[in-house]
Each structure stands twice: as C-alpha cells, then as structure tokens.
Point group: C2
Chain length 410, copies 2
C-alpha cells in the first residue's frame, strides 16, 4: 500500500517513451474548413504572387521618365492612349509621351514602369495633365514580389489561422493536407454517477467529467467521443465499454474507479485487455495521486481520478501534452504570471502539490493569488473560479503568505 510512487516527471517520461513520435495520420480537407488545423505538409508556391506587375492605385500607367519634370504649377501633358482594365489580359503596350488609364489591380502595360495616382492628374480632352513626378517602380507591385514561384511559404506543423489560410488561397489551392484530429473516447465510471438531464435519485451525483473532459479535448483540437457512464460494480459491462472504446478511438480517457478502495477496478481490468497494460499507476502529486496510464492494443489509455478538479488538473498536467503531440501540435509554453500569495499554502508531504488559484490586483496594483476553494478537491466550482495554479514541489513544506510565486494560467 505504501509502494514508492513515480514523480510527475518520471511518469511523463514513461508516457512519452511509450508513444509513437509521429502524429496519428493525415487527411485532405477543403481550405474553407482549415481554420485551427495543423499543416501536415510544406506548402510550396506553384506560382508567382502577384503573377504579373500590378498597379496598386487607380491612375495612369506611364513611363516614369516622362513625368520627371512635372510640377504642381507646371504639369506635364501626356496623351491618353486607352484603358487597362483589372482582370484584362496584359497585352497593352505603352509608348513614350502616352499614358494608359489603369485601375488598382490591373496588369501594367508593356513599356510602362510606374503609375501616377489619379489624384495627381487632371484629364483635359484626350490628354492627361500630370502634376507630380513618379519614380520608376512607383505604385507598382512587381510580379512575384509577394511570393516567388517554388518558395516554401508555410511549413509542416504550422497552425492555420486566418492569415495562413490567406496565404494558401493566394496560391489558388482549394485543398490542403492536415494532421487528422485524434479521436478521444471518454468514459465516466462510478455507481453514483448519473447522466445529466434526468432526475437525480438519492445518493447520486451528475456526470461532470464526461462534459469537462470532452470540452477540454475539443479545446486542444481533438474530437471527443463519449462512451457514457460505466457502472464500476459490473465488471463485464465496464470491460466491454473499455474494449469498445479502445477499438473505436485513438486514445481513451476514463475517470473514476482508480483509488485503493474495493470498488476501484478500472486499472485491474485494463491489465486484462492487452499488453503491455499499465505503465503508470499512481503519481506523487496532489491532487490526482491515483492517476494511471496504460497502453492497450497500441492505444494510450489514461485513467483519471473521479473527482472533477483532480481529473482536470491531471488532464492539464499530463494528458494535454499527449493529445497535442498526437494531433501534430507543438506544445506552447504555459503563460506564467508572478503573484503574491495571500495565505500560507501547504504542500502534501512528499507529493508535488498543485493549488488552483484566482488572481486579482491589490491596492498597489500587484497581482495577488488566493486559493480558488477551501481545499475540497471534489469541488467543481474550484476550477471554474480558478485562473491558474501554483506548484509546490515535494520538498517544500509550505509557502508563507506574501511569498511571490509563479501562477501557471489556464
């Protein structure tokens, strides 16, 4: 009963070692649905952007040298030889002493090397008066100046925000290859757990973990699949739900049924389902000590504690990294805030201790952190109220009120 527990670091290393270093797979999706997805390929431009010299203003395509003597009170007078429309084939040609009317985005006519803005001109019959000189290249966006043909514009692993989506659109690519979203099966266990939306019989509580975990899984870009509530007094039904989940999804997360009590049978069932089975069983952390981890049929299975705050903290500390990795995402560093604690905080002897805190500003505009709850780790509102957590290492007995600590923000 007092076997030596793994430290969090050891547990994470063991988990890391058990996983394939590669994301789960690749799929081809329309660009329209790409926001938030992760590129599974380098994107190499098949073309120049823009594909031709392009006017960036409305005005007149000119030969820059023709305008060099233009002045506010002494305009240069040039012949209006026609019009270049946007979207037109770039076949026009410009000769010395002439201009062609041109609109924003239209291709520059051959022979021209600059565009005069319409604001700096006046039309008079078939001539244009130019009141301001332009330099060679002025008001032109050169062919390929934005993206060169064959340039690598985005890299495998890039996350597609609206800006990256724009780059792909510029290349005209309607589909891209992205990493497949990991499918994550979620099972709540416990004889006292009741499905939401039904009346609550005496002695029961509603299923919270299916919802928090599904939502947390969604937030890291994975696809949650709920397998409902398994009664942990019915070994056969629990076994069959676990088997079904392991068969259908990429990763399984259970909650409940992992402590030392007579009813805590999830870890022992897991070991009957396939090799290597349990790789982690118990970690020296508080809350969440009973957490376990297994590989069954090559699929990672996380066994989280039943109480919602513990389950979510373990999700943040251990599971999240794995989901990100299997989805091809690199883990971003947590945002850290320095804050002063308002009361003495104790660590659990010999265990790395995580305390959910709310952060606010005091009179002197310093950030202060207070525990989000009265220490009841079964509380669901604890995490809802918390802005982040503080970490006390296993050798720290307590931190005195007034100590400056690092708050890891959610």
């Amino acid at each position: 009963m007092f076997k030596k527990l793994l430290t969090l670091k050891e547990a994470k290393q063991r988990i890391e070692k058990s996983l394939s270093p590669k994301p789960l797979g690749i799929e081809r999706i329309p660009l329209k649905r790409a926001v938030g997805r992760v590129l599974a390929e380098d994107i190499i431009s098949p073309l120049n952007v823009p594909p031709f010299h392009r006017s960036t203003v409305d005005g007149y395509a000119v030969i820059a040298e023709d305008t060099f003597h233009a002045q506010e009170d002494q305009p240069v007078i040039l012949n209006l030889a026609g019009l270049v429309e946007a979207g037109a084939i770039s076949g026009s040609e410009l000769s010395k002493g002439s201009v062609l009317e041109i609109v924003t985005g239209a291709p520059l006519p051959t022979g021209s090397n600059a565009v005069v803005m319409i604001e700096n001109t006046t039309q008079k019959d078939e001539t244009i008066l130019v009141f301001k000189p332009v330099a060679k290249g002025e008001n032109i966006m050169e062919k390929g100046s934005d993206i060169h043909k064959d340039e690598i514009v985005l890299r495998k692993g890039d996350i597609l925000s609206h800006r990256e989506v724009g780059v792909v659109a510029a290349l005209g690519l309607p589909h891209i290859r992205v990493f497949r979203k990991p499918r994550v099966g979620i099972i709540s266990t416990g004889a006292e757990i009741m499905e939401i939306g039904k009346p609550l019989p005496p002695g029961k509580i509603y299923d919270i973990n299916s919802y928090t975990l599904a939502a947390a899984v969604t937030e890291v870009g994975c696809m949650p699949i709920s397998f409902g509530i398994a009664r942990d007094h019915d070994i056969n039904s629990l076994k069959s739900v676990l088997k079904k989940a392991i068969e259908k999804v990429d990763i399984v997360i259970t909650s409940g049924g992992v402590s030392v009590g007579p009813k805590d049978i999830v870890p022992s069932i897991i070991n009957t389902l396939g090799k290597p089975g349990l790789l982690v069983h118990g970690v020296a952390v508080k809350p969440g000590k009973p957490v376990a981890y297994a590989i069954v049929e090559n699929k990672p299975v996380f066994l989280l504690p039943g109480n919602p705050t513990s389950a979510l903290l373990i999700f943040h500390l251990i599971v999240r990294t794995v989901l990100l990795k299997l989805g091809g995402r690199s883990e971003s560093l947590p945002t850290v805030l320095k804050a002063i604690i308002t009361q003495r905080l104790f660590s659990a002897r010999g265990r790395q201790t995580f305390i959910p805190v709310t952060v606010s500003k005091n009179d002197m505009d310093l950030s202060i952190a207070s525990p989000a709850a009265s220490g009841q780790s079964g509380s669901i509102t604890t995490l809802a109220k918390a802005d982040g957590y503080i970490e006390l290492n296993a050798n720290t007995q307590f931190l005195e009120a007034g100590t400056e600590v690092r708050v890891f923000l959610f």
Copy 2:
C-alpha cells in the same frame, strides 16, 4: 476628392451609434456543443452540489469522537456494522462504537460525522482497528458546499470553456441558452479576382479575401457565409448579390471596389439599396483609407479595401469589435508588447498609420520589431509573417530607429 476624412475614432463612434446595443438573438443548444459559446442567461442552481454529505475517501464512516484516542501503537477498536456503497440511498444509520465501510463518493450514513481513511486502519474479523484520530467533518464534502441551491453559478455573457461546461453539468442541465452566432456574409468584388481551385487566366489573381475574412470571422465566434465573387463591372449582378446577402445574413462584409477609381461602385450601389445607407466613407488611416460602412435594412455592411493586408487590418481595427458585440462577447484588450524598432518608420501624412511587424529577440534579450514587409500593402504574406502591428498617430511624422514602441499582438 479631398473631402475631410473621419478619424478612426470618429468612424468607430459613428458605427457604434448605428448599432443596436443588444446581441442578435438567443438559441437553446445541448451542453455537449457549448464550448466557446456565450451564455445568454444567468445559471441558477436548482440543487445542492453535492446533494448529500459525501465521503471524499475510501475508508470507514465513524463518529469522530470514537477515534479521538487512536494512536499508531494503540488503535481504537470499533465494530464493522456494514457497508455504504457509492450511489446507494443514504438510509444507513451509525451507532456509537461502530463503523460502516464507505467508498469515495458514497453518502455519509446518518449519525456519522467523519471518515477514517482505509490507509489508517486494519480489519480484524468483524472489527476495525483505527490507528489515527479524525476530526469532525474530516474527509467529508458537505451537502451544498460546492454549490448552494439557488446560487447564481454563471452569469449571462460568460464564455463557456471546459470549466464552465463542468459547472453546468454538475447541475444536471442538458441544454443552455446562448447567444446566436452572427451570420456574416462575405463578398469579394473585382474583375481580376478568380475563384481558387481553377486555372488562373492572365491578368487575374486568386480570391484571398473570401478565405481570410471567413477564417477571421470564424475565429471571433461568428458563422461566415460566402457569397462568392461579384464582378464589379456588372452593376446588376453586384446589386443582386448585395441584396441577397443583406436579406440572408446579419452582417455583410465586402472587399474591393471602394477606392476612387471609375470601377469603384460598391459604395454607390449600397446607397441605392436602402436607408440610411453609407454612414462612413473613407477614414484617415493607412492602410485602409477607402473603407466604408453602411446600414441597409437594419443590417451593418462593411466595405473593405480589396488588398488583403488592408482588408485584414481594417477587420482587426473596426469590424472585429462589432462582430464580438453582436455575438454577445465583450472585447478583450489586445495583448501589448514593448519592443524597439529596427528602422525609421514613417507615417502617412495626416493619417493614423498601422505597420505590421514581426517581433524577435536581440542579443541582449530585448524585443525588437521590424516591418513585416517592404511596405507593399497588397502583400498577403505581410500579414502571415506579422506578429502584430505598431500604431503611429496622424501627427507623428516618423519614429526613429531604436524608439521603444507598443506592438499590438494579433
């Protein structure tokens, strides 16, 4: 042609004034699909959480006073009178001198006021040896200690992350009322714009704005609906697309066709579609000066410039706030980073100037900001490479290299 332009602030005030102060509407959705949505109601708890005094450990329910003399080498001996299972009806009763075996989450039997952890006991026949005293209330989570019946647990306007979803699940509520996602119609205009996925004829460029704007709209929690590309040389077709969009969606965003050129007809068409029509036409900013804004049939219509970087900057500066508001979201303050600029930056005379920059660290670990592009606002890669933007006010001629500036991060 040189009419006085509105400042950005004036334009934003005028837009703000034209809008209903309320979000667009409310819908009832299943809790399973609630992540990222905005609550349209206060959530008041219909029950106590937990609904009964609950054991937080596996062990034995006791009368605390019975254990007060327990010591490591001199245990108290109590009668094992039965078992309380998790999920059981809380009907058991405990008498002095006895214990009832209890598992985590099970209801405390009547008469009991504490739970001894199994680790601090040994069973011997029908008695339990207790080696450590427990205080009254120890290892118990009291009825309603997490959430009181009738307590307001979440507020209208709260955004539902996995933590808030957990709170709603704890109350057993399978549905919630959230603000409806604004439907945003997106229209690209321009004779030179070509749909992606098709070969690119000479003189054309691919439609970027439909994709960047749809993605940006998605990112602020709205639902983009693409109305494709309208040829701006065909007044009737442009008019009919605009009418259709205004009829079908809540907000319309067009891009292109707003400058002073002969082909820039979107603003004039808008004025024929309904009152009050254009409320903003041109703003003293760079890039994005030609931006316009109208109300038609009570729907906001934003007319953005055609070039992708300008369109997105204006989206960030003006449109985003409106979409957030109509979706019931409060605007979060932009994340600001202090950085040193690497080169002299000029503002456009008389216009508030926004310069997309990339941020990196120099040898001395200081943040430095460099313009993301060579100043070509038609560039799509400019924004993809930028981490944020710098603002120069209309009266600043330039900022010297080495100046510390605020970078507004995307």
